[in-house]
Symmetry: C2
Subunit: 183 residues, 2 copies
């Protein structure tokens, strides 16, 4: 159960991490035929594999690779959805948390008519979680020299994603809002 703590609604009882919450959310969307959105596996370069049996292979040496795209993608309402999700303990979101080619990827998707954005959770702000559309990320980068997006920018240009049934982080509701505004 959520409870009031000072002026905030505490989110302490929510999932342990943004990834965990998004996982539950995506499962909920899939189970209810709302959307089909998955997290991509972490890219790993396998160097050495030990085949103990035909079906079982143990990887003995491997390295993490740099992801070529973002973490999440899928389909909602016939449309292509693509986003990256990050948490920050700071009062701002450092752009270094997203690789340059990931921003380029979000831009490509945006230009191709897909729906792309970032989801950022501010842990120190009671875990408030925002969705910021790619056009606002690009606009910030093009009009600012600073290398981090302040919390205030999210408040002004992003949408807060709220928990539904104290269970899932309903970012589709936000997509519906800004898709409606486009019409």
């Amino acid at each position: 159960m959520r409870y009031k703590k000072g002026n905030f609604i505490s989110h302490a009882n929510r999932g342990m991490s943004l990834e965990y919450d998004l996982n539950i959310t995506n499962n909920y969307y899939l189970d209810n035929n709302i959307a089909c959105i998955h997290k991509k596996p972490t890219p790993i370069q396998v160097v050495r594999v030990n085949y103990t049996s035909k079906k079982k292979a143990i990887i003995n040496e491997a390295f993490f690779k740099t992801p070529s795209t973002t973490d999440y993608n899928g389909i909602y309402n016939g449309k292509y959805i693509d986003f990256e999700a990050k948490e920050t303990n700071l009062e701002y979101f450092p752009l270094s948390n997203i690789l340059e080619h990931q921003i380029k990827h979000l831009e490509t998707i945006y230009n191709m008519g897909g729906i792309s954005f970032i989801i950022v959770r501010f842990c120190k702000h009671d875990n408030i979680t925002f969705l910021l559309e790619t056009k606002y990320i690009l606009s910030f980068i093009n009009n600012n020299s600073r290398k981090s997006i302040p919390y205030l920018y999210f408040l002004e240009n992003g949408y807060e994603i709220t928990f539904k049934n104290n269970l899932f982080l309903d970012y589709i509701e936000v997509i519906n809002k800004f898709e409606k505004e486009k019409l």
Copy 2:
């Protein structure tokens, strides 16, 4: 250069594998702003990691996991694209080559208004490569007891994907064809 060999156009000089060809194709689509389609990383369960330095981590123990979705997805013409690609050395395509939940995934995408299909290459048929839409996979499964789709079924219900400029496997051309037929 392609050359005639008997009654066939030899494809011997094409890429070493379907995955290789699709990789070149997807790069071509991206470079030319036609589509943004990527292969998902192979899912791996990491068990033990040795952090030799902050930036360099060596994975000492890991396992291959079962993929939860298909290998390829992305955006074309604002639409969500999703497919699995397989090669076969047989006169038919064994359905066991695709996991049951992957077929379920293709069906989900189809029902949600996305474009989903399989790409199958018949190595013994001069590497001829077909695109078969999900509705035909489902129709085959629902109307047949056999566990493999014969070559003839692909000839009758699939589309051959042809190489362009002897370089890339132009499956977008095929998508354009069947999307046009829907109108």
